[in-house]
Symmetry: C2
Subunit: 206 residues, 2 copies
């Protein structure tokens, strides 16, 4: 069995959305070996930092929260597709040659996987691409950018997927992962009433 | 298959160590539906809040960090033992009738599972109890208190377990879990160089 860790390390100089310092995580010292003979840190991060799972509340005022993620799907059938050829936008047309399995997690490896820093023109899923995905009964859609959409007023891609009951996984590291069939493993934190959680995302071969 | 979620929900009024307000997590609003038409929160928490995994760096200045947790052990053979009879301290004597499996994760259900609030006199593992556990080649030891030891200068229980290569899982919720054999599932966050991580801890029946 091969294990792929799809997770971005959480650290101050990690790529963050729009390179804004306000989006950088902070790991502050609460206690140190030097002073207290024990080490404790305090982490501050926006829940959409690095590799994270979005819940419907992120874009829908009455949407489901992250604590409703079904634990019986924490290890799930997963398809990884190479969509490098889609360029900077995954449209319905980009997707029509793909054979999705109902109920699966689907991860898109795009041009983003070739870039280590935040790219304002990152590849995303367009509104019509998301509407196409929403017809396939997917459990989850994931992408190797910090957001599944960009510059779309009203967030139609998020909304189309959430309306279909599909979870959204962002900030994946897929550069080392060959396209194919896997098991995806995810255990979001149990943050009461929150709209997202940072996660450790892991693939194993079947 | 039965699934048990062993995780304490992360929220402001959760039980925290010594009931200190400084130990309470903060979920602050970065963006709201009312103002920004999107919801984003920023979480601030000490890494030892709620259900969390300790790495050796917590008590050993040169100890291994949380990002070295082996992902090939993220789903692992697990034994849950009822040590309610041990009272407020798990000693070597409390443990001698137990049959540990080498390489397993071992979780202790104690009097702490009967209490919903922080109890300053919580049941812990004594230095000699930890030394006994350290002889059994365990992958992990977990307990239903926020700390595996209390009021022991120099943290000998943590140190004995870490010296044996045993990870420490604290803040478990075991009240609903019958003693027996399970699979434990854990995926700590990839926090660069940190001494711990909050986790979602899950048991499944075999």
């Amino acid at each position: 069995m091969i294990i792929y860790d799809l997770t971005m390390p959480i650290k101050t100089d990690m790529p963050v959305f729009k390179n804004r310092d306000i989006n950088r995580p902070i790991l502050a010292v609460d206690r140190s070996h030097e002073v207290n003979h024990i080490c404790e840190h305090r982490l501050t991060l926006n829940l959409h930092t690095g590799t994270h799972l979005d819940a419907p509340l992120h874009v829908l005022p009455d949407g489901a929260t992250i604590d409703t993620f079904p634990l019986d799907r924490s290890s799930i059938d997963c398809q990884v597709f190479d969509l490098t050829a889609a360029g900077r936008a995954i449209t319905a047309e980009s997707l029509q040659h793909l054979d999705f399995r109902t109920g699966a997690a689907v991860l898109f490896k795009t041009i983003n996987s070739g870039v280590d820093q935040f790219d304002g023109q990152f590849c995303y899923v367009t509104a019509d691409g998301a509407a196409y995905l929403a017809m396939h009964g997917l459990f989850l859609v994931g992408i190797d950018s910090l957001g599944i959409e960009r510059d779309q007023p009203g967030h139609p891609s998020h909304k189309a997927l959430f309306a279909a009951g599909t979870w959204i996984l962002e900030g994946l590291r897929l550069a080392a992962v060959p396209p194919g069939d896997y098991i995806l493993h995810l255990l979001p934190l149990l943050i009461d009433g929150a709209e997202a959680s940072p996660v450790r995302a892991v693939l194993t071969t079947r």
